[in-house]
């Protein structure tokens, strides 16, 4: 989105414990600082609700992909078994509904799963060959990063930095500004 334009500026506070960063997210927001994102080496329960992220819409995508799979499978079976080459198996009607169920089920699950993975990769800008920008390399190891978008906050950098330190951010080095290209 911001490609070619000026890099966006973020303030990154580093924490050394899960509990500290969770507590900081809650407290910092109470002080009026808008938290952009938290990066951690492992998933943290409910961190999205503490940050205030809207709920994921991936279940809706899953339902739509699943329904697509169902319709695709039924169309495919109907074409194969009724239109292109009608076949009678076991004395049953070519479109005997119970026999359509296993294939329909599998197609539903397949399209649903593939679609969900694709949606997830696209919305998170991930995928083969993509290198995600990292605010701090240590968040893949043992540190937790609390990222504040400076454009979305009215407080000054110094004020935010002080608030972050007040709620447990590491002071050596203190929260620093990172430019995201």
């Amino acid at each position: 989105m911001a490609a070619g334009k000026e890099p966006k500026k973020y303030l990154v506070g580093i924490y050394d414990h899960e509990d500290k960063v969770v507590e900081a997210v809650k407290k910092v927001q109470k002080e009026g600082v808008k938290v952009e994102e938290v990066y951690s080496p492992h998933p943290i329960h409910h961190i999205d609700t503490y940050i205030g992220h809207p709920r994921t819409r991936i279940p809706i995508a899953a339902f739509i992909f699943g329904a697509t799979g169902t319709i695709l499978a039924i169309t495919m079976i109907t074409f194969m078994m009724k239109i292109d080459w009608p076949m009678i198996i076991g004395g049953k009607n070519p479109l005997y509904p119970p026999t359509m169920v296993p294939v329909t089920f599998e197609a539903t699950v397949l399209i649903c799963a593939l679609g969900m993975v694709a949606t997830f990769l696209i919305t998170n800008n991930m995928g083969p060959g993509k290198v995600e920008f990292m605010f701090d390399r240590r968040t893949t190891d043992d540190k937790y990063a609390l990222v504040v978008d400076l454009d979305k906050n009215t407080k000054s950098v110094e004020e935010i930095r002080e608030i972050l330190i007040k709620y447990g951010a590491e002071t050596t080095p203190p929260p620093r500004i990172v430019e995201k290209p």
Binding site: V22, F63, P98
Partner: protein
């Protein structure tokens, strides 16, 4: 993270109010009256046997087919016995499944369910009552309900001799002579329910003893219950399957399905989960179980959703293979449920799939539906009715043939059993504290969040 202390009254006790007692008594009375009225009306020809005219023509048509099977007159009383048997079996399973829920929570070291464990524990108290109903019904009406009880099926040389059923004789009559007294079968009935109940009493004993612990770090009762729970899970897993063959599959003696045990399990397990959900929601509405929040309800909702689909999977797995292969000894079961027997049961089998699969699948799919009490109440009630219908379709075609239906007898028996179940359930629930307050994982349950 700073410690968050949640304060709830863990000493709360459920009181079985006289008003509820009175209501349930009235419910049982009305059920009994409806049932008797239903039998009387049925003898008068109302709500019973309106297929007779067709049956006569059909009987002649199928005369050759039924040459070696006896035709017994199906009277309104037969239908009453069939209903007693159906409800007896249904509620036996529900009671045993409640105990299974508790046992699984122990074996799985589950913490989230600590606050609702007592509710599930109260299910098992109904087991002795249904056992008595099953035994009485069998001794009075075993011959009407179970084709295999007729001794002339096992006498070689007679026209009524049935080699297929005679081959299964040992399963019923061992060690006695085929066609005499079904000792092995009755032994299993008594032993299964007896052992389920005995293990249940042990679970309850330790569970209640845990409440009076002075040393909160003493987990000995909990550990003992983990062992008992493991025994219950293994024993129940095996015996439930056999009991399903005994009590339901043997009605259609010729027919067999290798999936029947799971199928009955799936049906009754999801029913028990629905009753558990309903019980928890109703208790919350009455002001109990304040610590049970939408996260616990979400888990119960997920259970109902998942096992409704599990049931569909099993049901379909059983149905498709038999319908597709179309083997005579297998398909007769499904013919009776489709267009056979004048199609009495064909709407029910469609309803069965709609209520038990499509309805919970679409209704409980979203996260919000599983977290709201009103949605859960509707879903649980629907699933419960659906699985009663499922058991109905399992039992009725084999016992009352084309004379089945849903009228006063059915409503009366169901009301009688349901009210009796709630009565026993509430009595058991009121006996001890509503919360297993010294559960080692109580804190986890109080902070449960998904």
């Amino acid at each position: 993270m700073a410690e968050v202390h949640v304060h709830y009254d863990l000493n709360e006790k459920y009181t079985f109010t006289p008003e509820l007692k009175k209501k349930l008594m009235i419910g049982m009375g009305v059920g009994l009256v409806l049932l008797i009225l239903g039998v009387i009306l049925a003898y008068a020809g109302i709500g019973f046997g309106h297929h007779e005219a067709h049956e006569a023509g059909k009987a002649a048509h199928e005369g050759a087919k039924h040459a070696n099977t006896e035709h017994h007159g199906i009277t309104p009383l037969t239908r009453l016995w069939a209903n007693l048997w159906l409800n007896g079996v249904f509620f036996t399973y529900i009671a045993a499944m409640g105990v299974l829920f508790v046992a699984i929570q122990y074996v799985a070291y589950a913490g989230w369910s600590a606050t609702i464990r007592r509710v599930a524990e109260a299910f098992g108290a109904f087991l002795p009552f249904t056992a008595i109903v099953l035994l009485i019904t069998f001794f009075i009406a075993g011959h009407d309900l179970f084709h295999w009880t007729h001794h002339n099926l096992y006498e070689k040389g007679k026209p009524t001799y049935d080699p297929i059923i005679a081959g299964k004789a040992g399963f019923f009559f061992f060690p006695l002579e085929a066609g005499s007294f079904p000792l092995f079968w009755l032994f299993r009935l008594v032993a299964f329910i007896g052992i389920w109940y005995a293990l249940y009493r042990l679970l309850i004993k330790n569970s209640v003893a845990e409440d009076y612990l002075t040393d909160k770090t003493d987990f000995s009762f909990h550990k003992r219950n983990i062992t008992i729970g493991a025994i219950y899970v293994v024993f129940f897993g095996l015996s439930e399957s056999v009991s399903a063959w005994d009590w339901i599959m043997s009605i259609d003696t010729h027919w067999y399905s290798t999936m029947f045990g799971w199928y009955v399990f799936a049906s009754s397990w999801v029913s028990a989960l629905s009753i558990l959900t309903l019980a928890v929601v109703f208790l919350k509405e009455k002001g109990y179980l304040k610590m049970v929040n939408e996260n616990h309800l979400h888990d119960l909702g997920k259970f109902m959703f998942a096992f409704s689909i599990f049931w569909t999977y099993i049901w379909f797995g059983q149905y498709m293979l038999q319908a597709y292969s179309n083997l005579p000894e297998e398909i007769e079961y499904w013919v009776a449920r489709h267009d056979g027997l004048e199609g009495v049961y064909s709407p029910m089998i469609v309803m069965n799939l709609v209520i038990n699969f499509l309805f919970p699948f679409l209704f409980l799919m979203t996260r919000d539906a599983k977290r709201k009490e009103i949605f859960l109440k509707i879903a649980a009630f629907g699933i419960l009715m659906g699985h009663y219908l499922d058991f109905f379709v399992m039992v009725m075609p084999g016992t009352v043939k084309g004379y089945g239906g849903f009228f006063l007898i059915e409503i009366g028996t169901l009301m009688l059993f349901a009210c009796a179940f709630v009565y026993v359930f509430a009595t058991q629930l009121a006996k001890q504290g509503l919360i297993a307050k010294n559960h080692p994982m109580m804190e986890e349950s109080l902070h449960h969040s998904i």
